[in-house]
């Protein structure tokens, strides 16, 4: 497969997942502002969102005030924000267009329709669009593409590249969403274990569409430890760091198997190593280490794996 084709499939997966994350972030923010105010007010919570997404400076330069309208515009529509839903969907569609020959018509169709729909939403008056509608649109559009990929794509190397993109991005995204929680908690550590704390964890579960799944897995109370465990170390949880990373490893192994010894597989080795390091931890160790510190380490590891994927496969051996 052409390296450029592989790169576009990889990034198509990443951008679709990233669009999904942006929409979910918006949802988290929206729900958090609905709860009783802490003394710093809701602006602080919106800022925590930007911090988690790593886009605080960009936002401040362009908008200044973190009002709900501004944040919504920035996270959903703004093409200057490379992580906005619109920017990501456009990039995913562009990648798809470039590799049309590597996609089934059903996948292209779903991708193209999502984009056309987005264009329609962009033309509508902002006051007529609420955050929930935007999130629903995004998660349903990206799920449709995902479903088309699962149902129709050949399970070849292209498939591995797409899913590798999904896996790495999802690992990164869950880590960042968890970090929102960290930033929200940061100013008032005494909230830990309070009703407010529980509410915030719930919000994150909801944003990940994982509320029901959490109850299936743990039943009963929502506690910080359990939710964190669910989102970090539970191998049954579809978006946990462990599951996402495991998928990345699985896809990298698929590539190594297909390509044989002639092709370097440093990305696979690194991903396996990170997976082992993750599996060696339990949730208490992570809290002792500091959730934020742990997440920073993890996000760094994902970045390193991505770089190695690039070096192993996407340069083409020239």
């Amino acid at each position: 497969m052409l390296s450029r084709t592989a790169a576009n499939l990889f990034w198509m997966g990443r951008h679709l997942e990233r669009a999904d994350t942006a929409a979910r972030l918006l949802d988290v923010g929206q729900r958090i502002t609905l709860m009783p105010n802490t003394e710093t007010g809701y602006q602080n919570e919106w800022n925590s969102l930007l911090q988690a997404a790593g886009t605080t400076d960009l936002f401040a330069q362009k908008y200044g005030d973190s009002t709900e309208e501004n944040i919504q515009e920035f996270i959903f529509f703004d093409r200057d924000n490379p992580s906005s839903v619109a920017a990501c969907l456009e990039k995913a569609r562009e990648s798809g267009r470039i590799v049309r020959t590597a996609l089934t018509s059903q996948v292209w169709d779903a991708l193209n329709l999502a984009y056309q729909e987005l264009r329609k939403m962009e033309r509508r008056q902002r006051s007529k669009l609420d955050a929930a509608a935007l999130t629903d649109f995004t998660t349903s559009a990206t799920s449709t593409v995902r479903g088309a990929i699962n149902a129709t794509q050949l399970r070849n190397d292209g498939w591995h590249f797409m899913n590798l993109g999904y896996g790495l991005e999802r690992a990164d995204a869950t880590a960042r969403l968890l970090d929102v929680k960290y930033y929200v908690l940061l100013p008032r550590i005494e909230f830990v274990g309070s009703g407010l704390d529980t509410y915030q964890w719930q919000v994150i579960l909801r944003a990940l569409s994982a509320h029901r799944a959490y109850h299936w897995a743990y039943g009963g109370d929502i506690t910080a430890g359990r939710v964190a465990d669910f989102l970090i170390l539970n191998g049954e949880s579809p978006r946990s760091l462990l599951t996402s990373l495991y998928e990345a490893v699985w896809n990298l192994e698929g590539l190594s198997r297909r390509y044989g010894d002639g092709v370097s597989s440093t990305a696979r080795d690194k991903a396996r190593e990170t997976l082992a390091a993750l599996q060696a931890r339990d949730i208490d160790m992570i809290f002792d280490e500091g959730l934020h510190e742990f997440l920073s380490w993890f996000i760094g590891e994902i970045g390193a794996i991505s770089t190695l994927v690039h070096e192993d496969y996407l340069l083409g051996g020239a």
């Binding site: 052409l2 049309r100 193209n112 083409g316 020239a318």
Partner: protein, 469 residues
């Protein structure tokens, strides 16, 4: 002016159109609108969005599709086919000659100046004979019809003619929407084209290629207006669609960058122009091509289709000599006629043209796509005078032709069905054999009375049928 209507002979429907005519007459009132919407939806969803002749503009623009097909019977088609193949042979013979001994010039049949000083003449490939001596592998010859047996060649496109994806998609969509029409009429298929194209490319593999050749399509990228066509063809042929950045030269060969390391490429069907092929040989600022490609080409490590320099055969100035080429190289009489053409660098022609501007069509020698031309009978006095100044400033840059009475075919328009002018571009493939699928791209001028079929000037496309016996 009297125009030949391809459907009617007087008030009688001509035989090839008989069943089509019945179909139209029995069509329910709102059927057409419904189907038109359906067709557009299909086109948009498939994503066929490009300007047919590389005119630029909005990459997401759809070209209007007319559901009334254009029909040829066997006899009409066989004659066209013979004429096109003959012309394709002559054009390739000409290219072999002018990059070799130049006999046609020595024989005084074509002025050497028109060839050797032509922008499209590539000195870099003089003496390099491509595999099987084929320079132009895909020739899109533009034709118009003016009477029952009157066909004229407007232009020979020897470089990278586009529009073939329209030929295939129009057919696909027609078959999807009107299966009953295909059951009633015996229509020759065109969908073997991608297979034929692949075979043609493989048949001109370079001398150093010993195994089954690896073919690729080289595109300028997804911003190009014909990108859809490039990916469409790559898809149907099962070959890689590459950009310049995907290729590199190492030693004697060209390779593509793959996830498993470098893979050798033997035949490149390029859809980028000569000046962009190799920054080391042509334009140094170009990012579209592959550094060192021309060296590999010259030493027989890779085939480039069409060959660099093939453009010299489809220049509008050279066009006037194609019938002479047929006689000179093949010793045959040309089956297809040229349009009478005045070349303005000749004193007599210049005088004649300047005296008759309101009746003539004047074109820039290197222009394309309906730009930079004057359609005398459709222009105002002011427009003609403005153009006259342009010609005076640089007569050598223009040719002129009489206004042709382009045939019409019935076309769906807002008011119902009306005759509209059409042209035709069949696609001829030259490799170890010369082949042509029965059909082509019919372009139609949707504006009433307009003779300009370019999509930039309000032109559309329609399916082209060749009926079997």
């Amino acid at each position: 002016m009297d125009y030949y209507n391809e459907m009617y002979s007087g008030t009688k429907v001509r035989e090839p159109y008989a069943r089509l005519s019945e179909w139209v007459e029995t069509m329910p009132a709102d059927f057409r609108q419904m189907k038109q919407a359906e067709a557009e939806d299909l086109f948009r969803r498939i994503g066929i969005t490009f300007a047919v002749y590389g005119e630029g503009g909005d990459p997401d623009r759809l070209i209007p599709f007319d559901m009334m097909p254009r029909v040829f019977d066997q006899n009409e088609w066989r004659r066209l086919e013979r004429g096109i193949k003959q012309r394709a042979r002559a054009l390739n013979a000409f290219l072999r000659d002018v990059y070799g001994r130049g006999e046609i010039i020595r024989a005084g049949r074509i002025p050497g100046r028109l060839v050797y000083q032509n922008e499209a003449y590539e000195k870099a490939v003089v003496g390099v004979v491509p595999p099987r001596g084929v320079y132009s592998h895909i020739i899109g010859i533009d034709l118009v019809r003016t009477g029952k047996d009157e066909f004229f060649v407007l232009e020979d496109n020897c470089r990278t003619p586009s529009g073939v994806s329209y030929m295939l998609e129009n057919r696909e969509i027609m078959m999807r929407m009107f299966p009953q029409l295909f059951r009633q009429n015996r229509i020759e298929p065109v969908d073997q084209y991608p297979e034929l194209l692949r075979r043609t490319l493989e048949s001109v593999a370079p001398p150093k290629c010993k195994e089954r050749p690896t073919c690729v399509i080289l595109t300028p990228g997804h911003f190009n207006s014909a990108y859809y066509e490039h990916s469409f063809l790559a898809n149907l042929m099962g070959v890689e669609l590459v950009e310049g950045q995907d290729l590199f030269v190492d030693g004697e060969f060209v390779y593509m960058r793959t996830t498993q390391g470098p893979k050798r490429v033997d035949v490149i069907y390029r859809r980028i122009d000569d000046p962009y092929l190799d920054p080391l040989c042509f334009r140094p600022d170009s990012m579209l091509g592959v550094p060192g490609l021309m060296d590999v080409y010259r030493s027989g490590g890779v085939s480039i289709c069409s060959a660099p320099g093939a453009g010299v055969a489809d220049d509008k100035a050279i066009y006037t000599f194609v019938p002479d080429m047929v006689r000179f190289y093949l010793g045959e009489e040309p089956i297809l006629k040229n349009v009478q053409t005045w070349t303005l660098w000749k004193e007599d022609d210049y005088k004649h043209v300047m005296a008759n501007l309101p009746d003539l069509v004047v074109k820039e020698v290197h222009g394309s796509g309906g730009y930079g031309m004057l359609v005398g009978p459709k222009s105002t006095k002011e427009e003609i005078e403005v153009f006259r100044k342009k010609i005076e400033a640089n007569p050598g840059n223009y040719i002129a032709q009489p206004t042709l009475a382009l045939s019409t075919t019935p076309t769906f328009v807002d008011e119902g069905i009306a005759p509209r002018h059409v042209d035709l571009r069949p696609f001829c493939l030259c490799g170890d054999r010369i082949e042509l699928v029965p059909g082509g791209l019919t372009r139609v001028a949707l504006k009433e009375g307009s003779l300009v079929v370019n999509s930039s000037q309000g032109g559309g496309v329609k399916d082209t049928w060749v009926l079997s016996e």
